[in-house]
């Protein structure tokens, strides 16, 4: 893994060669859950795949039509793809996802840990 202190890492985002766009994403923390959102315009629900492993979530989606950069028509893209690290206290067995208004919302409940204390 490259050490960014010695090797500056430039984040390009989109992958023109593979025709992949990097979608915008955001994560909001609530008391009992994390809510992760991806902005996926030009995508139909049936063309979205969500993968989860021990510490990361990956979104892959096929655009319903090829997207061309407005100023550089030769730059064409056909997919969205992004991987993000997951919070450590998320309950992976209870992850849910929904797709509305071209936004994918993934809800990750938090794991409740610790020993219960009895109140006097």
């Amino acid at each position: 893994m490259m050490d960014s202190e010695f090797y500056p890492v430039f984040w390009f985002g989109d992958d023109l060669e593979q025709k992949i766009l990097a979608p915008l994403s955001c994560i909001r923390e609530h008391e009992s859950k994390w809510v992760l959102e991806f902005d996926l315009p030009l995508v139909d629900k049936k063309d979205i795949a969500v993968f989860v492993d021990s510490d990361a979530i990956t979104i892959e989606a096929k655009l319903r039509e090829t997207y061309c950069d407005e100023h550089r028509k030769s730059y064409q893209y056909e997919y969205f793809k992004k991987s993000l690290s997951l919070p450590k206290n998320a309950d992976y067995n209870k992850i849910t996802a929904k797709f509305l208004d071209s936004r994918l919302t993934i809800t990750l409940p938090k794991i409740t840990q610790g020993k219960k204390i009895k109140l006097d």
């Binding site: 430039f10 984040w11 902005d39 030009l42």
Partner: protein, 236 residues
């Protein structure tokens, strides 16, 4: 205030929640076929120029059509320069006898349904309160306003220039041209012009993809993050 000053209006748009300001003012400039009359620069803003149809454009530009001025910024206004930037806009208003300023912006909403979008008005002067009442624009009643929006409100109040903030509910972290259509319609009602948003409606998905970088840069600026290691703009 002279009658001449009362007639002139400035529309101010800069990147913020949902890029509502950017989409709204950009549409108005194009729809009204406004003429480019100047630009604003600041040494502390990242050095950037855009090239469009072979023409070199500054990122912060001033347009005019009859008694309507528009200032649009294609780059986020960083907190460090916000006061100077807004003060220079206020001085521009004074110099050109502009009597009113309108700023479309976005406000975070818990609703994820775009059909629930609404525009609210926040006025600093009686004259705009009357317009809101006449146009049946609901008032922005309660909440916290931070960042460049707060600077705009504070500076224009200090300069005594009537200001109307038009807040449209939107997704704050993603470009929201769908919500901007509501903002455009509300702004058109306020300044008594007719608009046709069918073209934007058709291009909503493309606008969301096109403006990803600007949205990310805006969020970085609002969070006052240090500039990330990105490909230098010259290579984009």
């Amino acid at each position: 205030m002279t009658a001449k000053k009362q007639n002139k209006i400035l529309l101010l748009g800069f990147p913020g929640n949902g890029l509502i300001g950017t989409f709204t003012i950009s549409y108005l400039i194009s729809h009204l076929q406004m003429r480019l009359v100047g630009d604003i620069s600041h040494p502390d803003l990242p050095p950037t120029v855009f090239v469009e149809n072979g023409e070199i454009l500054s990122p912060i530009r001033i347009y005019r059509k009859d008694n309507i001025y528009a200032i649009i910024s294609d780059v986020p206004i960083f907190p460090e320069v916000a006061v100077e930037f807004v003060s220079s806009v206020a001085q521009f208003c004074k110099k050109n006898q502009i009597g009113k300023v309108i700023v479309p912006s976005g406000v975070d909403t818990q609703s994820t349904n775009s059909k629930d979008a609404k525009t609210y008005g926040l006025a600093t002067h009686q004259s705009f309160e009357k317009i809101m009442y006449d146009k049946e624009l609901p008032k922005f009643l309660a909440g916290s306003i931070i960042g460049t929006d707060a600077t705009v409100i504070t500076v224009f109040r200090n300069y005594g220039i009537p200001l109307l903030m038009l807040y449209t509910s939107c997704h704050p972290f993603f470009p929201d041209p769908q919500a901007a259509i509501f903002a455009i319609t509300s702004l058109a009602k306020v300044i008594n012009i007719t608009v046709d948003t069918k073209d934007i409606q058709k291009r909503v998905d493309y606008l969301r993809i096109q403006h990803r970088n600007l949205m990310q840069e805006t969020l970085d600026a609002l969070q006052e993050k240090p500039a990330p290691s990105k490909v230098p703009p010259i290579y984009r």
